[in-house]
Protein backbone atom coordinates (compact mmCIF):
# COMPACT_ATOMS: atom_id res chain seq x y z
CA UNK A 1 0.00 0.00 0.00
CA UNK A 2 1.53 3.31 -1.11
CA UNK A 3 1.98 5.81 1.66
CA UNK A 4 -0.37 8.68 0.83
CA UNK A 5 -3.04 6.52 -0.70
CA UNK A 6 -6.65 7.22 0.16
CA UNK A 7 -8.38 3.99 1.05
CA UNK A 8 -11.67 2.82 2.47
CA UNK A 9 -11.72 0.86 5.69
CA UNK A 10 -13.44 0.28 9.01
CA UNK A 11 -12.41 2.23 12.07
CA UNK A 12 -11.20 -0.97 13.70
CA UNK A 13 -9.06 -1.80 10.69
CA UNK A 14 -7.64 1.73 10.71
CA UNK A 15 -6.52 1.25 14.32
CA UNK A 16 -4.61 -1.89 13.34
CA UNK A 17 -2.96 -0.39 10.26
CA UNK A 18 -2.04 2.78 12.14
CA UNK A 19 -0.47 0.72 14.93
CA UNK A 20 1.77 -1.11 12.49
CA UNK A 21 2.74 2.18 10.85
CA UNK A 22 3.49 4.19 13.96
CA UNK A 23 6.19 1.91 15.34
CA UNK A 24 4.03 -0.05 17.75
CA UNK A 25 6.06 -2.88 19.29
CA UNK A 26 3.28 -5.11 20.53
CA UNK A 27 -0.46 -5.70 20.55
CA UNK A 28 -2.13 -7.98 23.10
CA UNK A 29 -5.87 -8.55 22.91
CA UNK A 30 -8.88 -10.79 23.24
CA UNK A 31 -11.82 -11.02 20.83
CA UNK A 32 -15.00 -9.13 21.64
CA UNK A 33 -17.65 -7.56 19.40
CA UNK A 34 -17.58 -4.85 18.05
CA UNK A 35 -13.79 -4.50 17.98
CA UNK A 36 -12.50 -7.91 16.92
CA UNK A 37 -11.35 -6.57 13.54
CA UNK A 38 -8.39 -4.94 15.28
CA UNK A 39 -6.83 -8.28 16.20
CA UNK A 40 -8.12 -9.92 13.00
CA UNK A 41 -6.50 -7.25 10.82
CA UNK A 42 -3.22 -7.49 12.70
CA UNK A 43 -3.24 -11.28 12.39
CA UNK A 44 -3.85 -11.00 8.65
CA UNK A 45 -1.19 -8.31 8.15
CA UNK A 46 1.52 -10.34 9.98
CA UNK A 47 3.53 -7.31 11.12
CA UNK A 48 5.96 -9.60 12.96
CA UNK A 49 7.36 -10.43 9.51
CA UNK A 50 7.74 -6.78 8.48
CA UNK A 51 8.16 -4.29 11.32
CA UNK A 52 8.80 -6.91 13.99
CA UNK A 53 5.67 -5.97 15.92
CA UNK A 54 4.49 -8.68 18.32
CA UNK A 55 0.81 -9.68 18.07
CA UNK A 56 -0.64 -12.05 20.63
CA UNK A 57 -4.17 -13.27 21.30
CA UNK A 58 -4.29 -13.50 25.09
CA UNK A 59 -6.41 -15.81 27.23
CA UNK A 60 -8.52 -12.93 28.57
CA UNK A 61 -8.72 -9.17 28.82
CA UNK A 62 -7.15 -9.50 32.26
CA UNK A 63 -4.12 -11.16 30.70
CA UNK A 64 -4.10 -8.68 27.78
CA UNK A 65 -3.84 -5.62 29.98
CA UNK A 66 -1.17 -7.25 32.13
CA UNK A 67 0.81 -8.14 29.02
CA UNK A 68 0.54 -4.47 28.14
CA UNK A 69 1.76 -3.63 31.65
CA UNK A 70 4.77 -5.92 31.21
CA UNK A 71 5.64 -4.60 27.77
CA UNK A 72 5.13 -0.96 28.76
CA UNK A 73 7.38 -1.49 31.77
CA UNK A 74 10.22 -2.24 29.33
CA UNK A 75 9.69 1.04 27.47
CA UNK A 76 8.08 -0.57 24.42
CA UNK A 77 5.13 0.97 22.55
CA UNK A 78 2.43 -1.55 23.38
CA UNK A 79 -1.34 -1.53 23.16
CA UNK A 80 -4.54 -3.46 23.55
CA UNK A 81 -8.10 -3.00 22.38
CA UNK A 82 -11.42 -4.24 23.62
CA UNK A 83 -15.03 -3.25 24.12
CA UNK A 84 -16.88 -2.25 27.27
CA UNK A 85 -17.18 -5.56 29.21
CA UNK A 86 -13.56 -6.35 28.38
CA UNK A 87 -12.48 -2.85 29.38
CA UNK A 88 -14.19 -3.40 32.75
CA UNK A 89 -12.00 -6.46 33.24
CA UNK A 90 -8.94 -4.37 32.43
CA UNK A 91 -9.55 -1.74 35.10
CA UNK A 92 -7.23 -3.41 37.60
CA UNK A 93 -4.35 -3.34 35.15
CA UNK A 94 -5.10 0.22 34.06
CA UNK A 95 -4.99 1.40 37.68
CA UNK A 96 -1.66 -0.42 38.19
CA UNK A 97 -0.25 1.21 35.06
CA UNK A 98 -1.37 4.65 36.18
CA UNK A 99 0.21 3.94 39.58
CA UNK A 100 3.45 2.65 38.09
CA UNK A 101 3.36 5.54 35.56
CA UNK A 102 3.51 3.38 32.46
CA UNK A 103 2.79 4.66 28.95
CA UNK A 104 0.49 2.48 26.86
CA UNK A 105 -2.52 2.66 24.58
CA UNK A 106 -5.89 1.10 25.35
CA UNK A 107 -8.62 1.28 22.72
CA UNK A 108 -12.26 0.95 23.81
CA UNK A 109 -14.68 0.41 20.93
CA UNK A 110 -17.54 0.71 23.35
CA UNK A 111 -20.96 -0.95 23.34
CA UNK A 112 -24.09 -0.64 25.43
CA UNK A 113 -24.20 -1.87 29.03
CA UNK A 114 -24.51 -2.43 31.88
CA UNK A 115 -23.42 -6.05 32.06
CA UNK A 116 -23.25 -8.03 28.88
CA UNK A 117 -25.64 -5.41 27.49
CA UNK A 118 -25.67 -5.10 23.73
CA UNK A 119 -23.10 -5.19 20.99
CA UNK A 120 -24.51 -1.99 19.49
CA UNK A 121 -22.76 1.39 19.91
CA UNK A 122 -22.88 3.38 23.13
CA UNK A 123 -20.98 6.13 24.90
CA UNK A 124 -21.91 4.86 28.36
CA UNK A 125 -18.27 4.29 29.31
CA UNK A 126 -17.61 8.04 29.66
CA UNK A 127 -17.65 7.96 33.47
CA UNK A 128 -15.57 4.79 33.60
CA UNK A 129 -12.97 6.35 31.33
CA UNK A 130 -12.63 9.88 32.65
CA UNK A 131 -13.66 9.55 36.29
CA UNK A 132 -11.61 6.55 37.31
CA UNK A 133 -12.87 3.10 36.48
CA UNK A 134 -10.16 1.38 38.44
CA UNK A 135 -9.22 2.11 42.05
CA UNK A 136 -7.22 5.05 43.33
CA UNK A 137 -6.68 8.67 42.32
CA UNK A 138 -5.70 8.51 38.69
CA UNK A 139 -6.56 9.84 35.26
CA UNK A 140 -6.43 8.44 31.76
CA UNK A 141 -5.54 10.67 28.85
CA UNK A 142 -8.60 10.11 26.68
CA UNK A 143 -9.00 10.81 22.96
CA UNK A 144 -12.42 10.51 21.33
CA UNK A 145 -12.27 10.00 17.54
CA UNK A 146 -15.27 11.00 15.44
CA UNK A 147 -14.17 9.47 12.13
CA UNK A 148 -12.20 6.59 10.72
CA UNK A 149 -9.46 9.09 9.86
CA UNK A 150 -9.20 10.08 13.51
CA UNK A 151 -9.11 6.41 14.55
CA UNK A 152 -5.95 6.17 12.43
CA UNK A 153 -4.49 9.51 13.51
CA UNK A 154 -5.06 9.13 17.23
CA UNK A 155 -3.01 5.93 17.59
CA UNK A 156 0.27 7.76 17.20
CA UNK A 157 -1.00 10.82 19.08
CA UNK A 158 -2.06 8.64 22.01
CA UNK A 159 1.35 6.97 22.14
CA UNK A 160 3.11 10.34 21.97
CA UNK A 161 1.05 11.72 24.86
CA UNK A 162 1.41 8.50 26.86
CA UNK A 163 5.19 8.57 26.61
CA UNK A 164 5.43 12.33 27.10
CA UNK A 165 3.67 12.03 30.45
CA UNK A 166 4.38 8.37 31.37
CA UNK A 167 0.67 7.69 31.69
CA UNK A 168 -1.72 5.27 29.98
CA UNK A 169 -3.84 6.79 27.22
CA UNK A 170 -7.19 5.62 25.93
CA UNK A 171 -8.93 5.98 22.61
CA UNK A 172 -12.61 5.97 23.54
CA UNK A 173 -14.50 5.08 20.42
CA UNK A 174 -17.73 3.19 19.91
CA UNK A 175 -19.19 0.44 17.74
CA UNK A 176 -20.35 2.93 15.11
CA UNK A 177 -16.91 4.43 14.51
CA UNK A 178 -15.31 0.98 14.80
CA UNK A 179 -17.63 -0.71 12.31
CA UNK A 180 -18.18 2.01 9.74
CA UNK A 181 -16.04 2.39 6.65
CA UNK A 182 -14.81 5.77 5.52
CA UNK A 183 -12.01 7.28 3.53
CA UNK A 184 -8.74 7.29 5.35
CA UNK A 185 -5.18 8.30 4.64
CA UNK A 186 -2.99 6.10 6.79
CA UNK A 187 -0.09 7.71 8.64
CA UNK A 188 3.38 7.33 7.10
CA UNK A 189 5.59 4.49 8.29
CA UNK A 190 7.73 5.25 11.29
CA UNK A 191 10.29 2.65 12.41
CA UNK A 192 10.08 0.95 15.80
CA UNK A 193 12.57 2.40 18.23
CA UNK A 194 15.90 0.65 18.67
CA UNK A 195 17.11 -0.70 22.01
CA UNK A 196 19.43 2.31 22.33
CA UNK A 197 16.61 4.74 21.63
CA UNK A 198 14.44 3.08 24.27
CA UNK A 199 17.27 3.24 26.80
CA UNK A 200 17.72 6.94 26.04
CA UNK A 201 14.03 7.91 26.02
CA UNK A 202 12.95 5.63 28.87
CA UNK A 203 15.80 5.49 31.38
CA UNK A 204 13.29 4.07 33.85
CA UNK A 205 12.48 1.00 31.73
CA UNK A 206 13.15 -2.53 32.97
CA UNK A 207 15.18 -3.72 30.01
CA UNK A 208 17.90 -5.50 31.97
CA UNK A 209 20.77 -3.67 33.73
CA UNK A 210 22.80 -2.99 30.60
CA UNK A 211 26.26 -1.76 31.68
CA UNK A 212 25.34 -2.85 35.22
CA UNK A 213 23.48 0.39 35.83
CA UNK A 214 21.36 0.65 38.98
CA UNK A 215 18.43 -1.79 38.80
CA UNK A 216 15.17 -0.34 37.51
CA UNK A 217 12.03 -1.30 39.37
CA UNK A 218 8.50 -0.80 38.09
CA UNK A 219 5.94 -0.98 40.86
CA UNK A 220 2.89 0.84 42.12
CA UNK A 221 3.46 -0.42 45.68
CA UNK A 222 4.64 1.77 48.55
CA UNK A 223 3.61 0.75 52.05
CA UNK A 224 4.99 3.86 53.78
CA UNK A 225 2.14 6.35 53.80
CA UNK A 226 4.33 9.46 53.69
CA UNK A 227 6.13 8.14 50.63
CA UNK A 228 2.87 7.05 49.03
CA UNK A 229 1.41 10.50 49.54
CA UNK A 230 4.43 11.99 47.81
CA UNK A 231 3.97 9.55 44.90
CA UNK A 232 0.34 10.62 44.62
CA UNK A 233 1.20 14.31 44.78
CA UNK A 234 3.78 13.89 42.05
CA UNK A 235 1.23 12.16 39.82
CA UNK A 236 -1.39 14.81 40.59
CA UNK A 237 1.08 17.56 39.65
CA UNK A 238 1.60 15.77 36.33
CA UNK A 239 -2.17 15.70 35.80
CA UNK A 240 -2.38 19.47 36.36
CA UNK A 241 0.23 19.97 33.60
CA UNK A 242 -1.76 17.72 31.24
CA UNK A 243 -4.93 19.67 32.04
CA UNK A 244 -3.09 22.88 31.27
CA UNK A 245 -1.45 21.82 28.02
CA UNK A 246 -3.28 18.99 26.32
CA UNK A 247 -6.93 20.04 26.01
CA UNK A 248 -8.13 19.45 22.44
CA UNK A 249 -11.49 20.25 20.88
CA UNK A 250 -13.16 21.13 17.58
CA UNK A 251 -15.43 24.15 17.12
CA UNK A 252 -18.13 24.10 14.44
CA UNK A 253 -20.40 27.00 13.42
CA UNK A 254 -19.99 28.78 16.73
CA UNK A 255 -19.52 32.40 15.55
CA UNK A 256 -23.21 33.29 15.55
CA UNK A 257 -24.47 30.37 17.62
CA UNK A 258 -27.26 31.05 20.08
CA UNK A 259 -27.48 27.42 21.12
CA UNK A 260 -24.61 25.05 21.70
CA UNK A 261 -24.44 21.30 21.30
CA UNK A 262 -21.59 19.60 23.11
CA UNK A 263 -20.98 16.10 21.78
CA UNK A 264 -18.03 13.78 21.25
CA UNK A 265 -17.28 10.89 18.92
CA UNK A 266 -20.14 9.54 16.84
CA UNK A 267 -22.64 11.80 18.67
CA UNK A 268 -20.72 14.78 17.29
CA UNK A 269 -21.26 13.46 13.77
CA UNK A 270 -24.99 13.35 14.42
CA UNK A 271 -24.78 16.84 15.90
CA UNK A 272 -23.43 18.25 12.63
CA UNK A 273 -26.45 16.90 10.78
CA UNK A 274 -28.69 18.33 13.52
CA UNK A 275 -27.05 21.72 13.08
CA UNK A 276 -27.63 21.63 9.31
CA UNK A 277 -31.34 20.85 9.77
CA UNK A 278 -31.80 23.35 12.63
CA UNK A 279 -30.12 26.17 10.72
CA UNK A 280 -32.40 25.51 7.73
CA UNK A 281 -35.21 26.21 10.18
CA UNK A 282 -33.54 29.40 11.36
CA UNK A 283 -32.16 28.16 14.70
CA UNK A 284 -28.53 29.19 15.13
CA UNK A 285 -26.84 26.16 16.62
CA UNK A 286 -23.12 25.40 16.90
CA UNK A 287 -21.02 22.48 18.11
CA UNK A 288 -18.17 22.13 20.54
CA UNK A 289 -16.67 18.66 20.15
CA UNK A 290 -14.28 17.64 22.94
CA UNK A 291 -11.48 15.62 21.35
CA UNK A 292 -9.81 15.02 24.69
CA UNK A 293 -12.43 13.88 27.20
CA UNK A 294 -9.76 14.09 29.86
CA UNK A 295 -8.44 16.70 30.03
CA UNK A 296 -11.91 18.17 29.42
CA UNK A 297 -12.37 21.58 27.74
CA UNK A 298 -13.96 23.17 30.84
CA UNK A 299 -12.54 26.60 30.09
CA UNK A 300 -13.77 26.88 26.50
CA UNK A 301 -17.22 25.56 27.40
CA UNK A 302 -17.32 28.07 30.25
CA UNK A 303 -16.63 30.90 27.78
CA UNK A 304 -19.28 29.63 25.37
CA UNK A 305 -21.72 29.42 28.26
CA UNK A 306 -21.61 33.23 28.38
CA UNK A 307 -22.32 33.48 24.63
CA UNK A 308 -25.27 31.10 24.14
CA UNK A 309 -28.82 30.86 25.48
CA UNK A 310 -28.75 27.14 26.11
CA UNK A 311 -26.57 24.06 25.85
CA UNK A 312 -27.53 20.54 24.83
CA UNK A 313 -25.26 17.68 25.77
CA UNK A 314 -25.85 15.06 23.09
CA UNK A 315 -24.62 11.70 24.32
CA UNK A 316 -25.32 8.07 23.50
CA UNK A 317 -25.82 7.32 27.19
CA UNK A 318 -28.07 8.37 30.06
CA UNK A 319 -26.32 11.70 30.63
CA UNK A 320 -22.73 11.56 31.81
CA UNK A 321 -20.70 14.30 30.13
CA UNK A 322 -23.57 16.68 30.92
CA UNK A 323 -22.23 16.80 34.50
CA UNK A 324 -18.89 18.15 33.30
CA UNK A 325 -20.62 20.71 31.08
CA UNK A 326 -22.66 21.95 34.07
CA UNK A 327 -19.43 22.25 36.06
CA UNK A 328 -17.89 24.20 33.20
CA UNK A 329 -20.71 26.76 32.95
CA UNK A 330 -21.31 26.97 36.71
CA UNK A 331 -25.11 27.01 36.25
CA UNK A 332 -24.99 30.32 34.35
CA UNK A 333 -26.88 28.90 31.39
CA UNK A 334 -29.42 26.05 31.11
CA UNK A 335 -27.76 22.75 30.25
CA UNK A 336 -29.89 19.86 29.03
CA UNK A 337 -29.09 16.35 28.03
CA UNK A 338 -30.46 14.27 25.22
CA UNK A 339 -29.49 10.75 24.30
CA UNK A 340 -30.62 7.23 23.58
CA UNK A 341 -29.70 4.05 25.38
CA UNK A 342 -29.30 0.36 24.81
CA UNK A 343 -27.35 0.65 21.57
CA UNK A 344 -29.79 2.98 19.85
CA UNK A 345 -28.16 5.95 18.18
CA UNK A 346 -30.23 9.15 18.32
CA UNK A 347 -31.50 10.18 14.91
CA UNK A 348 -30.85 13.77 13.84
CA UNK A 349 -34.58 14.68 13.63
CA UNK A 350 -35.30 13.73 17.23
CA UNK A 351 -32.39 15.87 18.40
CA UNK A 352 -33.67 18.80 16.36
CA UNK A 353 -36.96 18.48 18.28
CA UNK A 354 -34.99 18.80 21.53
CA UNK A 355 -33.26 21.92 20.26
CA UNK A 356 -36.64 23.41 19.32
CA UNK A 357 -37.93 22.78 22.84
CA UNK A 358 -34.94 24.69 24.22
CA UNK A 359 -35.83 27.74 22.12
CA UNK A 360 -39.35 27.97 23.55
Amino acid sequence: MAEKEVTLMKGNEAIAHAAIRCGCDGYFGYPITPQSEVLETLAAEKPWETTGMVVLQAESEVASINMVYGGAATGKRVMTSSSSPGISLMQEGISYMAGAELPALIVNVSRGGPGLGTIQPSQADYFQTVKGGGHGDYRLITLAPASVQEMADFVDLAFELAFKYRNPAMILSDGAIGQMMEKVVLPPFKPRRTEEEIARECPWATTGRIGMRKPNIITSLELRSEEMEQNNLRIQAKYRVIEEKEVRFEEYMLEDAEYLIVAFGSAARIAKKVIAIAREQGIKVGLLRPITLWPFPYKRIGELGRQVKGILSLEINAGQMVEDIRLAVECKVPVQWYGRLGGIIPEPEEVVEQIKKMTL
Binding site: V6, T7, L8, T33, P34, I119, Q120, G175, A176, Q179, M180, M181, E182, K183, S266, R269, I270, K272, K273, V274, A276, I345, E347, P348, E349, E350
Partner: protein, 180 residues
Protein backbone atom coordinates in the same frame (compact mmCIF):
# COMPACT_ATOMS: atom_id res chain seq x y z
CA UNK B 1 -24.75 16.38 -4.06
CA UNK B 2 -25.38 14.02 -1.18
CA UNK B 3 -27.13 10.69 -1.67
CA UNK B 4 -28.21 8.75 1.40
CA UNK B 5 -28.99 5.10 0.77
CA UNK B 6 -30.16 2.18 2.87
CA UNK B 7 -29.67 -1.32 1.48
CA UNK B 8 -31.47 -4.08 3.35
CA UNK B 9 -32.16 -7.76 2.90
CA UNK B 10 -31.37 -11.21 4.23
CA UNK B 11 -27.86 -12.02 5.42
CA UNK B 12 -26.10 -13.78 2.57
CA UNK B 13 -27.74 -11.71 -0.20
CA UNK B 14 -24.61 -9.60 -0.50
CA UNK B 15 -26.17 -6.52 1.05
CA UNK B 16 -23.02 -5.42 2.88
CA UNK B 17 -20.69 -6.12 -0.03
CA UNK B 18 -22.98 -4.29 -2.46
CA UNK B 19 -22.82 -1.29 -0.16
CA UNK B 20 -19.09 -1.65 0.08
CA UNK B 21 -18.64 -1.70 -3.69
CA UNK B 22 -20.88 1.35 -4.01
CA UNK B 23 -18.88 3.18 -1.33
CA UNK B 24 -15.60 2.16 -2.90
CA UNK B 25 -16.80 3.33 -6.29
CA UNK B 26 -17.55 6.71 -4.75
CA UNK B 27 -14.05 6.78 -3.31
CA UNK B 28 -12.66 6.03 -6.80
CA UNK B 29 -14.45 9.14 -8.06
CA UNK B 30 -13.09 11.33 -5.24
CA UNK B 31 -16.36 11.55 -3.38
CA UNK B 32 -16.83 11.47 0.38
CA UNK B 33 -18.30 8.15 1.47
CA UNK B 34 -19.50 6.43 4.63
CA UNK B 35 -20.53 2.77 4.92
CA UNK B 36 -22.30 1.99 8.19
CA UNK B 37 -23.53 -1.57 8.71
CA UNK B 38 -26.06 -2.82 11.21
CA UNK B 39 -23.53 -5.27 12.57
CA UNK B 40 -23.77 -8.29 14.81
CA UNK B 41 -25.59 -11.61 14.75
CA UNK B 42 -27.84 -10.16 12.04
CA UNK B 43 -25.02 -10.85 9.61
CA UNK B 44 -25.53 -14.56 10.12
CA UNK B 45 -28.83 -15.27 8.42
CA UNK B 46 -31.25 -12.66 9.76
CA UNK B 47 -31.77 -9.31 8.14
CA UNK B 48 -28.72 -7.28 7.24
CA UNK B 49 -28.64 -3.63 6.33
CA UNK B 50 -26.10 -1.00 5.55
CA UNK B 51 -26.30 2.76 5.20
CA UNK B 52 -24.18 4.18 2.39
CA UNK B 53 -23.72 7.90 1.99
CA UNK B 54 -22.02 9.27 -1.12
CA UNK B 55 -21.44 13.01 -1.09
CA UNK B 56 -19.41 15.87 -2.51
CA UNK B 57 -19.01 17.20 1.03
CA UNK B 58 -17.76 15.67 4.28
CA UNK B 59 -20.40 13.31 5.65
CA UNK B 60 -21.89 14.28 8.99
CA UNK B 61 -24.10 11.68 10.62
CA UNK B 62 -23.44 8.10 9.47
CA UNK B 63 -26.76 7.08 11.03
CA UNK B 64 -29.95 8.37 9.47
CA UNK B 65 -33.68 8.25 10.01
CA UNK B 66 -34.67 8.95 6.41
CA UNK B 67 -33.12 8.12 3.09
CA UNK B 68 -32.97 9.36 -0.50
CA UNK B 69 -33.06 5.75 -1.66
CA UNK B 70 -34.04 2.49 0.01
CA UNK B 71 -33.03 -0.75 -1.73
CA UNK B 72 -35.00 -3.56 -0.10
CA UNK B 73 -34.53 -7.20 -0.91
CA UNK B 74 -37.10 -8.91 1.31
CA UNK B 75 -40.51 -8.31 2.88
CA UNK B 76 -39.29 -7.39 6.40
CA UNK B 77 -36.91 -4.81 4.91
CA UNK B 78 -39.69 -3.33 2.81
CA UNK B 79 -41.90 -3.03 5.87
CA UNK B 80 -39.12 -1.42 7.87
CA UNK B 81 -37.83 1.10 5.34
CA UNK B 82 -40.72 2.06 3.00
CA UNK B 83 -41.84 4.72 5.44
CA UNK B 84 -38.29 6.05 5.84
CA UNK B 85 -37.82 7.11 2.24
CA UNK B 86 -37.83 10.90 1.94
CA UNK B 87 -40.78 12.42 0.08
CA UNK B 88 -39.87 12.34 -3.62
CA UNK B 89 -37.21 9.72 -2.91
CA UNK B 90 -36.65 6.31 -4.42
CA UNK B 91 -37.66 2.82 -3.32
CA UNK B 92 -36.20 -0.13 -5.21
CA UNK B 93 -37.39 -3.62 -4.36
CA UNK B 94 -36.81 -7.10 -5.63
CA UNK B 95 -40.15 -8.74 -6.33
CA UNK B 96 -38.98 -12.16 -5.18
CA UNK B 97 -40.84 -13.18 -2.01
CA UNK B 98 -42.71 -9.87 -1.72
CA UNK B 99 -46.33 -10.58 -0.75
CA UNK B 100 -47.34 -7.05 0.15
CA UNK B 101 -45.92 -4.59 -2.37
CA UNK B 102 -45.14 -0.96 -1.47
CA UNK B 103 -48.09 1.44 -1.34
CA UNK B 104 -46.64 4.96 -1.03
CA UNK B 105 -47.57 7.37 -3.79
CA UNK B 106 -45.24 10.25 -2.83
CA UNK B 107 -42.06 8.40 -3.78
CA UNK B 108 -40.72 6.76 -6.92
CA UNK B 109 -41.08 2.98 -6.64
CA UNK B 110 -39.06 0.67 -8.85
CA UNK B 111 -39.19 -3.09 -9.07
CA UNK B 112 -36.22 -5.18 -10.13
CA UNK B 113 -36.67 -8.94 -10.46
CA UNK B 114 -33.00 -9.58 -9.93
CA UNK B 115 -33.41 -12.79 -7.95
CA UNK B 116 -35.47 -14.45 -10.70
CA UNK B 117 -33.17 -13.17 -13.42
CA UNK B 118 -30.03 -14.26 -11.57
CA UNK B 119 -31.45 -17.77 -11.15
CA UNK B 120 -32.50 -17.91 -14.78
CA UNK B 121 -29.11 -16.70 -16.06
CA UNK B 122 -27.10 -18.77 -13.54
CA UNK B 123 -25.75 -15.54 -12.07
CA UNK B 124 -26.71 -15.99 -8.41
CA UNK B 125 -23.17 -15.06 -7.31
CA UNK B 126 -23.58 -11.58 -8.76
CA UNK B 127 -27.22 -11.08 -7.76
CA UNK B 128 -26.29 -8.01 -5.74
CA UNK B 129 -24.53 -6.47 -8.73
CA UNK B 130 -27.72 -6.81 -10.79
CA UNK B 131 -29.49 -4.80 -8.09
CA UNK B 132 -26.65 -2.27 -8.00
CA UNK B 133 -26.98 -1.89 -11.78
CA UNK B 134 -30.67 -1.13 -11.38
CA UNK B 135 -29.92 1.51 -8.77
CA UNK B 136 -27.24 3.13 -10.92
CA UNK B 137 -29.67 3.32 -13.84
CA UNK B 138 -32.01 5.44 -11.69
CA UNK B 139 -29.30 7.36 -9.83
CA UNK B 140 -26.00 7.37 -11.71
CA UNK B 141 -24.11 8.72 -8.66
CA UNK B 142 -21.06 6.73 -9.75
CA UNK B 143 -20.10 5.48 -13.23
CA UNK B 144 -19.82 1.84 -14.30
CA UNK B 145 -16.12 2.55 -14.82
CA UNK B 146 -15.90 3.65 -11.17
CA UNK B 147 -17.53 0.39 -10.06
CA UNK B 148 -15.19 -1.70 -12.19
CA UNK B 149 -12.22 0.22 -10.77
CA UNK B 150 -13.52 -0.47 -7.27
CA UNK B 151 -13.88 -4.18 -8.05
CA UNK B 152 -10.33 -4.35 -9.35
CA UNK B 153 -9.22 -2.63 -6.16
CA UNK B 154 -11.19 -4.71 -3.67
CA UNK B 155 -11.29 -8.18 -5.22
CA UNK B 156 -8.26 -10.34 -4.66
CA UNK B 157 -6.24 -10.91 -7.85
CA UNK B 158 -7.46 -14.52 -8.11
CA UNK B 159 -11.05 -13.30 -8.49
CA UNK B 160 -10.34 -10.69 -11.18
CA UNK B 161 -11.58 -13.08 -13.89
CA UNK B 162 -15.05 -12.56 -12.38
CA UNK B 163 -15.06 -8.83 -13.16
CA UNK B 164 -16.57 -9.21 -16.66
CA UNK B 165 -19.44 -11.19 -15.12
CA UNK B 166 -19.98 -8.39 -12.62
CA UNK B 167 -20.07 -5.85 -15.43
CA UNK B 168 -22.59 -7.99 -17.29
CA UNK B 169 -24.70 -8.13 -14.13
CA UNK B 170 -24.68 -4.35 -13.71
CA UNK B 171 -25.81 -3.85 -17.32
CA UNK B 172 -28.47 -6.53 -16.90
CA UNK B 173 -29.79 -4.71 -13.82
CA UNK B 174 -29.97 -1.48 -15.77
CA UNK B 175 -32.10 -3.25 -18.37
CA UNK B 176 -34.59 -4.99 -16.14
CA UNK B 177 -35.46 -2.32 -13.56
CA UNK B 178 -39.00 -0.97 -14.03
CA UNK B 179 -40.86 1.94 -12.47
CA UNK B 180 -44.13 0.79 -10.88
Amino acid sequence: MTHEIIISGFGGQGVLSMGKILAYSGLMEDKEVTWMPAYGPEQRGGTANVTVIVSDEPVSSPILSSYDTAIVLNQPSLEKFESKVKKGGTLIYDGYGINVPPTRKDIHVYRIDAMDKAAEMNMIKVFNMIVLGGFLKIHPIVSIEGVLKALRKTLPERHHHLIPMNEEAIRLGMDIIREQ
